[in-house]
């Protein structure tokens, strides 16, 4: 009898033990799922592509975000590049100007920890030796994007002019050169002088005797360094750099430059496709003059 009682007790304990375990597991799974949702919603939000300028040679934004390990070595290299430090007679570094590159802090509203720059504060000075790129351990700054093969050189050489950090856009409404006032601040600030920005001559019909000299940016040369943006004389820069994703449109592959032999090449492999609908069965003229169908409309 006594024995029986005990057995029952043990059984009950076992059940409640099992129940507790079950409840615990359900609770954990619940918390995990909930936490996972909040977490993913947050990460999705912050990685949503923001208008941000990346260092030279950066991969496309989605790849950049997964590849950059947020170490800040590019920032350090930019900060202490030779052209940015003050040295005493012994060659010891005594100070450095603020760097171009910064790591996004909480509060910058950018994907946290990633390097970026704000051109109108400190633009990229397009260092010939590009100190920021070779130090990147992760390949988020891709050296092949800013180096090219040169004859007689075994290794590809660095070429900062290949950088595509963004593209300068002119706000033609507020750029005073477009008003007819003489200004070529951006034109002169540009390191790729007379290629990335050219001044286009136009007659000023209002006065009849003056000229417009309008700055025009050429995307094949502009690196997006932002020196023009910093140089611009208007209160808020009338020339500014946007990431390529925002600055460039896309024409679509069905447009072909017939005058461009290389673009014309694309036609070679093109194949045409004719779709026939009910209306297009007849020629366009026939279908327009078809009185039966016209009558239907009334």
């Amino acid at each position: 009898m006594n024995n029986n009682n005990q057995k029952q007790k043990i059984k009950i304990e076992k059940i409640s033990e099992g129940r507790r375990k079950f409840l615990n597991i359900t609770k954990s799974v619940g918390i995990a799922v909930l936490g996972g949702f909040i977490w993913s919603a947050y990460v999705d939000e912050v990685k949503a592509s923001s208008i941000v300028l990346r260092p030279p040679g950066a991969l496309d934004e989605p790849d950049f975000l997964k590849t950059c390990i947020k170490c800040g070595m590019c920032v350090q290299a930019c900060h202490f590049r030779d052209s940015n430090v003050m040295k005493n007679n012994d060659g010891d570094i005594t100070g450095a100007r603020p760097p171009t590159l910064k790591l996004a802090k909480p509060g910058d509203n950018l994907p946290i920890g990633t390097p970026f720059f704000i051109a109108r504060d400190v633009p990229c000075f397009m260092c010939d030796d590009i100190p920021c790129v070779p130090v990147c351990p992760s390949g988020a700054l891709d050296i092949t994007k800013v180096s090219r093969k040169v004859e007689k050189e075994p290794e590809p050489v660095l070429d900062i002019n290949m950088a595509k950090m963004g593209l300068a856009i002119v706000d033609t409404t507020n750029c005073i050169a477009f008003w007819g006032i003489q200004c070529d601040a951006c034109y002169r600030a540009c390191p790729i002088l007379d290629k990335a920005i050219t001044l286009e001559y136009k007659k000023n019909e209002r006065t009849g005797k003056h000229a417009y000299l309008e700055p025009v940016v050429h995307s094949e040369f502009c690196t997006g360094c932002g020196l023009c943006e910093l140089a611009c004389v208007t209160d808020k820069p009338a020339i500014f750099v946007l990431p390529l994703e925002y600055a460039l449109g896309k024409a679509g592959s069905h447009y072909i430059k017939g005058w461009d032999a290389k673009d014309e090449e694309r036609l070679k492999n093109a194949h045409s496709e004719t779709t026939t609908t009910k209306i297009s069965e007849k020629s366009a003229l026939d279908s327009l003059n078809n009185m039966d169908e016209l009558e239907d409309l009334y």
């Binding site: 996972g36 800040g72 430090v85």
Partner: protein, 275 residues
Amino acid sequence: MKKYRFLIARRAVQISILFLYFAANAYGWSILVGNLSSSTLLGFIPLSDPYAVLQMFMAGAVISSTLVVGALIIFIFYAIVGGRVFCSWVCPINMVTDLANYCRRVFGLNQIQKKQPATRKMRYWVLAISLILSFALGVGAFEFISPISMVHRGLVFGMGFGWAAIIVIFLFDLLVLKNGWCGHICPLGGFYSLISKFRVINVKYDNDKCTECMKCKLVCPEKQVLFMITKETMPVLSGECTNCARCIEVCDDDALGFFLKIDEKKAKEIDNENN
């Protein structure tokens, strides 16, 4: 002093490492450049956080050879000395959570809240979720919210609102859950616990010397690993032990100490030979 020798050593190591990173960005030193996610030691030795690299891998990034080598160096180092040596000797958050824990003891908050409402296994869940989310979202998921990186980056490169992370963790550990962040949630701690299985540096416990004062369990941030106290003589084998050595220094009776697993193996061999 003897009671704080390891604590002082740990703080010294933590602060020196922080300072070397800081000086790289502030004065252009090149001893240790970067931050805890990835860095270069002495200008040529790459170091990388293996957990961050694992997340990148899950996110589908192409992992550069520098990162692979760096992560391997760190992985092997911590696999040998004990993964959570990172927690107690390097991580800046450890100073915050240790302070919270100290305040809890001083203010007697542990008496009010005796029962811990959460399981310490939670960190492995967070670890698993972080890898799943990295895969699903295509970015290192924990790296986007990690208060460790946030605070460390903040100290090296500028804080922003990073202070908020410190305060949140401090208050959470102080008022909500004892050892809440480091002992329950942190997936990096979880990751390092998992790779600690075969470490060679362990804490050993001698039941014969123990006077059952329980000071060790009071200071231990992972006191479940000290389950053998008052019960049997054995080493602390759980990967969750941070090798912080607080237990060793507070013990008045020399019942706790470090031992090298290699030593023990040798001792056994000698034993066998003698028999």
